[in-house]
Each structure stands twice: as C-alpha cells, then as structure tokens.
C-alpha cells in the first residue's frame, strides 16, 4: 500500500525551478531512497513533504489524505517525522529533554494542569520518561541522558536526532543524509539500525550520498537531477540505468 505520495509536485524560488513535476511514492513498510547530484532538489523535496515549503504545483498525500496545505506540525501529528541534513538538535537542552520533545505529539497535558502538577501530568511525565529511556537504550545513548545535547560528539548527535524522531513511533521517518560525516565502521551500524527501525514497523525514506548504504538497504530508489525525477526502481535497475550513470554515478575508470 502506498503510504506517502507526491503528485506532480514542484516549487520555484524566484525564477529557479528547484523541484518540478516530481511523482514519488513510498510503499508502507519499505525503505526508499532519493539520490541525485548535489543541488538536484533532494532536500527541497523533503521539505515539501515535511511542509517547510509550500509547493507551487502538485500535491502531497499521506495515509491517503491530501496534506499539501497542512502545516509542518500538523503533519508531524499525523505521523511524519524527520531528521535534518545539518543536525538540528536543541543544543542547550539535555538529551532527555530533546527526546521528550519527540513525544510532543503523543502527549496532551495542558498548561494549567502542568503548572499545578495535577496527577494527569505526573502520570504522563512518568510514562514519557520511561519511553524515552527505552529509546535511548536502543540507540546506545542511555549513558548521556543528562548531558547537554550540544556537548555530545558528532556521531552521538546524529543518533540522538534519530532517537528524537523515532520515540513517537511515527508512520514514516524521513532521514536527510544520515551517513554524512560517519566513517565506514559506523556506516555498517547505521545501515543495520535503519533496517531495525523499518522492521519495527516504521516506513523509512532517506536521502543519501553514500552509495553503499543506499544500495545495500533500499527497496526502491528514486533519482533526481536538476529538480526532476529521471529514474526510479530497485537498486539493480538504478545501477544499470544509463541515464543515471551518466548524470550521477559517473563511469568507473578503475
């Protein structure tokens, strides 16, 4: 079943067509990847899906509903979570608070009972903290629960961002270049982690430059070039597609 879909989506910044007429669909329970040269519009496509930009053409559908006009936070409520290309943590807040914020959509305590410490708040806090600890353990972050997010090492920050995104168990998780800045050893762990996340029932969409990650875990790959989709298919198809090789992968000279 298609869970997330864009139909003829596009956006122009001034005269520049950053993304145009892209059809992109994601099967529930799959891992999909978007690849393409730098500046091809991958992150822009993510931002259109997540609602940070409003498209100038086309529509976005999520869980069979047209969400084109919805705000970012409303989409998050529907179960669309994401990480950012350049880590976007709450740097001055603790690891605990960061991940607790990931549960924002799953909690509902109002300001008044918060201020009065009414039983419903205390219960919600307890349960939230328990869930956060479980997620932190899963991503090996439980030792750092009281540290400031900004004081963690780079790789841990990337993990924390993923923890924050999956703690609410979203329907779809968008990962923007999760492998950037990681070395080869970490890549293996990351790939396994993404597969585990998918196996737990979260559909994953990722943008990635590191081909070995993309090729080893993706069920489907879409290729963007100059804002347009030039190909999609399974990894085997993409690798042998001459247009893709020409635009992106280049010829292997060695």
């Amino acid at each position: 079943m298609v869970i997330l879909e864009t139909k003829g989506i596009g956006i122009h910044f001034g005269g520049l067509k950053a993304v145009s007429n892209v059809d992109f669909s994601v099967e529930e329970g799959s891992i999909s990847a978007i690849i393409g040269p730098n500046g091809a519009g991958k992150t822009t496509l993510f931002n259109l899906i997540a609602g940070f930009y409003t498209p100038t053409e086309g529509t976005v559908h999520f869980k069979g509903k047209d969400i084109t006009k919805m705000k970012t936070f409303e989409r998050t409520y529907m179960g669309l979570a994401r990480t950012f290309q350049n880590i976007n943590l709450f740097r001055e807040l603790s690891v605990m608070d960061n991940v607790l914020l990931g549960l924002h959509t799953k909690t509902k305590c109002d300001p008044i009972s918060s201020m009065l410490n009414l039983p419903n708040k205390l219960k919600e806090e307890r349960e939230s903290r328990k869930k956060v600890m479980e997620t932190l353990e899963f991503l090996n972050l439980d030792h750092y629960v009281n540290e400031k997010a900004g004081s963690l090492a780079y790789g841990l920050q990337k993990n924390l961002e993923i923890a924050r995104a999956i703690v609410s168990h979203p329907t779809v998780l968008l990962l923007d270049e999760p492998a950037s800045g990681l070395n080869t050893n970490d890549l293996e762990t990351l790939s396994q982690g993404i597969v585990t996340i998918r196996n737990s029932g979260i559909t994953v969409v990722l943008i990635e430059h590191k081909m070995d990650v993309v090729m080893s875990i993706s069920d489907k790959i879409a290729v963007l070039n100059f804002g347009e989709k030039i190909a999609d298919g399974d990894p085997g198809e993409i690798c042998s597609n001459p247009e893709v090789i020409d635009a992106y992968l280049g010829k292997d000279e060695e």
Binding site: T43, N47, F52
Partner: protein, 291 residues
C-alpha cells in the same frame, strides 16, 4: 496644492535625517546581527558634541563640525571596544541587552554632566524662510535633505567600490572567512561602528537647531530611526533612506492634515503595521528559512 508641497518638502527634509539615523542601525545590524538600541543615543551625543564645540567652546561652525564629528567617532570607538568587542561571539540576546545597557549609560552620563534641561541651539543655515514660487522654504530643510542624501550616497559608493568597503561587507557576511582572506576583522568592526556613530552624530547636529539639545533626544530620534530602518527593510542601505523619507513624509502629512499630537504616534503606528504586514520592509531581504 501648495500646502501639500510644503508638507512634502518638510517631510522629506526631516525624513532625510531619519534615513541618516536609520542607516546607522542597518550598518550595525548587518555587521553585528542585532538592533543597536544605543544608536539613537549617538544622535544625542552628536547634538551635544556640536553644542560643546560651537556654543561652549565658541569654535566657528566650519571647525566645530569636524571637531564634533571627531568626538562622535571617538565615543563610538570607545563604546565598541569596551562594550561590543568582548561580545563579538556572544549570542544575540546578550548583545541586544548590552546595547540597551550602553544606551542607559550614555543617556544618564550626559544627564549627570549637563543636567536634564534642554539647551537651545542656533540655526546653522538660517531660519529665515525664502519664498520660491509661492512656497515658503526654510534653508535648513534644503540643507538637511542635501546632506542626508549626500552622505548616504557617499557611504554606498564607499561600500561598493573601495576595497576597504568591500572587505567590510565581507566581514559582515562571514567573519571567520574574512580573517582567512587576511582581512583585519577587528579593525573593520571598529570602522563600522565609527561610521554609524558618525552618521548618527551628523543627524544629531543637523537636528539640534530644530529640536532642543536634551539627553532624551536619543530615545526620540532612535525610535524614528529604527522605525525607518525597519520600514525600509533592516538589511538594506538604500531601503533605510527610503524608509526614513517615507516616515518623515507620513509624519509631516499627519501633523499638517490632522494634528501635531498625531505626529508622535505615527512612527509607532507605522512600526506596528510594517511588522505585521511587511516584516521584510520595503527593500529588505525576505528572511529565508534555512532548513
């Protein structure tokens, strides 16, 4: 029709001064990242500087002007190295509050030294109205307009054409990268503050014959200045002039067609409307969201 033109000229001449103050806000905002709430007080310093040089010391205007400008530059420089330079890498909040602190300091320092009473200042270019084609024109107004525009033009030529001007823009855009070019960032920041202090001071000198010289002049003029800067778009040099002029003209029509009590609230009214409907101002860059 004449009345209309009259108000227009009056408004433009006042607006040119607002623009001059506004551009000081813009320069510092671009280089420093926050509104400098002490910029208005540099206008007041300028007014007192010319008062000291011309009235107290008895220097002729031609000498008093450069002396007063020099005083403004020195004070601007001292403020920069003592209060702003140590905070060059601090977050916006801390820098914003520092500028508020500097404003309080300067205002009250002047009040301690000179008292809270207003000083009159003689007209520089003559207050005798001249009749031209049925319009009564006060020479001071013409001069204000000419000098205001002239200075802003000079500034933009300086920033666009000279190496030092370009390096100042580079410094404003990325300090670390500027250092890697061999640009002396500290010096450039100082120059930026000195220039905006001088421009603010200049406005203060031109205003002093119109208003009285008083320690709270800075608060009054500062408000007009940043209303103008925001109206023009806080990042744009030409925008600040356009913003200042628009504000001056609006005020002048407000006073002419309604009452002078309206005039006082116009800048705040404009500020409100701009913030709500046109946050990027007339010429400013739309704040792009970086995701």
């Amino acid at each position: 029709m004449n009345f209309f033109l009259q108000q227009l000229i009056q408004g433009i001449s006042m607006g040119a001064l607002y623009g001059l103050i506004a551009i000081g806000y813009v320069l510092i905002y671009n280089a420093w990242g926050v509104l400098n709430f002490a910029q208005g007080d540099m206008v007041m310093i300028g007014a007192f500087a010319i008062l000291i040089a011309h009235v107290f010391m008895g220097l002729p205007l031609l000498i008093a002007f450069p002396v007063a400008i020099l005083m403004c530059c020195i004070i601007g420089f001292l403020v920069e190295i003592s209060a702003f330079r140590p905070l060059i890498d601090a977050n916006n909040t801390r820098r914003l509050i520092a500028t508020i602190g500097v404003g309080i300091f300067l205002r009250n320092l002047i009040r301690v030294v000179f008292g809270a009473d207003p000083y009159p200042f003689p007209s520089v270019f003559g207050n005798t109205a001249v009749e031209i084609g049925g319009l009564t024109i006060i020479p001071q107004n013409i001069w204000n307009t000419v000098i205001g525009f002239g200075l802003v033009l000079l500034l933009s030529i300086f920033l666009k054409q000279t190496v030092i001007g370009k390096s100042m823009r580079a410094t404003a855009q990325d300090r670390e990268a500027a250092r890697l070019m061999g640009i002396n960032v500290k010096r450039n920041m100082s120059i930026t503050f000195i220039i905006s202090s001088a421009l603010g001071g200049f406005a203060g000198m031109l205003i002093s014959p119109v208003f009285f010289v008083i320690p709270t002049l800075g608060t009054l003029m500062g408000n007009k200045g940043f209303a103008g800067a925001l109206l023009g778009g806080i990042t744009s040099n030409p925008g600040s002039m356009i913003g200042g002029i628009s504000l001056g003209v609006l005020e002048s029509f407000g006073a002419g067609y309604f009452s002078s009590s309206v005039q006082a609230s116009i800048s705040f009214g404009v500020l409100f409307l701009v913030l709500i409907f046109l946050p990027a101002g007339l010429l400013g860059k739309k704040e792009s969201r970086k995701v």
